[in-house]
Amino acid sequence: MRIVLIDEDKARAAIIEQGLAAASDIEVHVLSDRHGMAKAIAEIDPDVILVDLGNPSRDILEEYFSVSRALARPIAMFVDQSDDDTIGEAIDAGVSAYIVDGLAPNRLRPILDLAIRRFNAFSRLQDELKEAKDALADREVIAKAKQILMARRNIGEDEAYKILRDQAMNNNKRIAEIAEAMVMADKLMGDSL
């Protein structure tokens, strides 16, 4: 089976491709550049096309699938109505699927399931990465704020932290927010540490 994966996010495309290509009877082609896409699709003559929901070219692609005489077989949006749940999950995960006329929906099913899992896994990775970056940034600013307090009030680290924490609780803010405010204020006052 030949699958075209259209995704301008190369990192995500790599993850999906890896999962799909693991099956021996599947050939995956990744298209990341919208230029020349129509020609590439016609040349590859795929059975299935996966497109991420966030791709601005979906409308162009659907129009192409509707009218192109360069395609060997007509291609349409996967709409096997017995599979509304799968389609729902696909939308949730951020992927849409187009299949050629005549392809049995049960052949698409495992591919779509895999794509959904991989898209979701990528989303989770991105979320984790963002959380990790945010946490790191928070730690850095809290460390800085503690330093400022320790120097200005001649106190130890534990006490400095307690001051930040109490302020956060009393104002219903995150400790990192209080720390940011402190670092900013210190900077504005001049002769910062």
Partner: protein, 402 residues
């Protein structure tokens, strides 16, 4: 008080304004609704989210709501439109070289002069084996139908004398610059983006082709509407107030700033404000021009879902899609626009309410005070550029009358 939540899908265009403003200015909250907005970048995705229940309602191309109901390209799912989000707001932007040929004096052209000049140039280009290529945002769009209506009205066969393709608005300026297309028919701010980049000139606005054509609508699954009618009525009231607020000059600046935000259009406040205030820059280096009714979001009961507007769109779908007119389909089409829900939602407030659900389109040559069930309503002239009128009760005649 816990708010009832409604998720609304949208595309980053200026005419997504009313649901956004209903949320941002607290009109929804006052009705007890929390609007959650989901941004997508293709109509396919906005539609899929709506059809599979990931959004409750959506900013939608009016013809696409009809096409989805008729089962074109997706299995049929009945959609309902209880509120129109706006009329007009689109333009035709041509590459600098083509604009030089068909509108050499610059400025806004006359539909016939531009059309006739385009017809001549189209023949030349065809003879060279390089036909003029024009792009619209979707086959099921007012952009596509108005473009075709105009071309055909000037004697240009939209399928044989030129090529009409689909384009994604964020890529439109690039496509003009690279010569991939010779012209685009898109909504704001994308025409202005192309003009600002110096890759194109606006030669016509679609309001010149039809002064009162439905553009975007608020669409939802008919099942959702019947199960949540009260909630939908509250949403209509909230958007009605958003509309009244949106068209006031003193709010333009604030609203442009909101729309420009990254979670909405993520674009230029300057260009957005110009669109909102009907001040359009047609060509780089010129002064912006005041184009009355460039956008038409609320006045003169613009949000009322006239069934005749749905009918006109169907007439164009039949004309260009190659499907024949079908009376059963026509009935379904008229049922998409839910005038009575709109009536019910705004019955207790002083909103002007037309007496009829349908009208002869293009018939008003001058402002006319129309029959109302409440308030007062004067409708301005709504001509088609070729002065034809469309009577929804005579659709078949309209189709075959050349």
């Amino acid at each position: 008080m816990s708010l009832k939540r409604i998720t609304i899908g949208f595309l980053p265009l200026v005419d997504a304004a009313l649901p956004i403003m209903a949320r941002e200015h607290g009109f929804a909250e006052e009705e007890g609704i929390e609007i959650e907005l989901i941004k997508d970048v293709s109509w396919a995705s906005v539609l899929d989210r709506l059809l599979y229940g990931h959004s409750n309602a959506a900013h939608m191309l009016a013809p696409l709501a009809i096409a989805a109901t008729l089962g074109r390209e997706r299995p049929a799912q009945s959609l309902s439109v209880p509120f129109v989000l706006g009329l007009n707001g689109n333009a035709i932007t041509l590459s600098n070289s083509l604009a030089e040929i068909v509108q050499p004096d610059g400025g806004l052209g006359d539909p016939y002069s531009v059309g006739n000049a385009l017809k001549a140039e189209a023949q030349n280009r065809k003879a060279d084996g390089n036909p003029i290529r024009l792009a619209a945002v979707h086959r099921y769009s007012s952009h596509n139908y108005k473009l075709r209506y105009w071309l055909a009205g000037c004697g240009v066969d939209p399928d044989r004398d030129v090529e009409i393709v689909t384009i994604s608005p964020p890529f439109a300026a690039d496509a003009l610059a690279a010569g991939e297309v010779d012209g685009i028919c898109v909504g704001e701010p994308w025409n202005s983006v192309a003009v600002k980049r110096g890759v194109g000139q606006i030669v016509l606005v679609t309001a010149q082709i039809w002064r009162r054509g439905v553009e975007k609508v608020l669409a939802m699954k008919s099942d959702y509407l019947s199960e949540n009618e009260e909630l939908v009525e509250k949403l209509i009231r909230a958007m009605n107030r958003a509309g009244a607020h949106f068209v006031k000059a003193e709010n333009w600046d604030m609203n442009a700033e909101i729309l420009a935000r990254s979670e909405y259009l993520d674009g230029s406040k300057t260009l957005i404000k110009r669109a909102i205030s009907d001040q359009i820059l047609l060509k780089l280096g010129d002064e912006p021009q005041h184009i009355p009714d460039f956008m038409f979001q609320h006045r003169e009961a613009a949000n009322f879902p006239w069934k005749s507007q749905a009918a006109w769109l169907y007439s164009q779908m039949v004309r260009w899609d190659g499907n024949s007119y079908d009376a059963a389909e026509y009935a379904k089409v008229e049922a998409v626009f839910r005038s009575n829900i709109y009536r019910k939602a705004l019955a207790d407030i002083d909103a002007p309410m037309p007496g009829a659900n349908s009208k002869v389109e293009g018939a008003f040559k001058a402002p006319v005070a129309v029959g109302v069930t409440q308030g007062r309503l004067t409708l301005s002239a709504d001509p088609f550029f070729d002065d034809r009128v469309f009577d929804p009760e005579k659709l078949e005649e309209y189709l075959y009358d050349k």
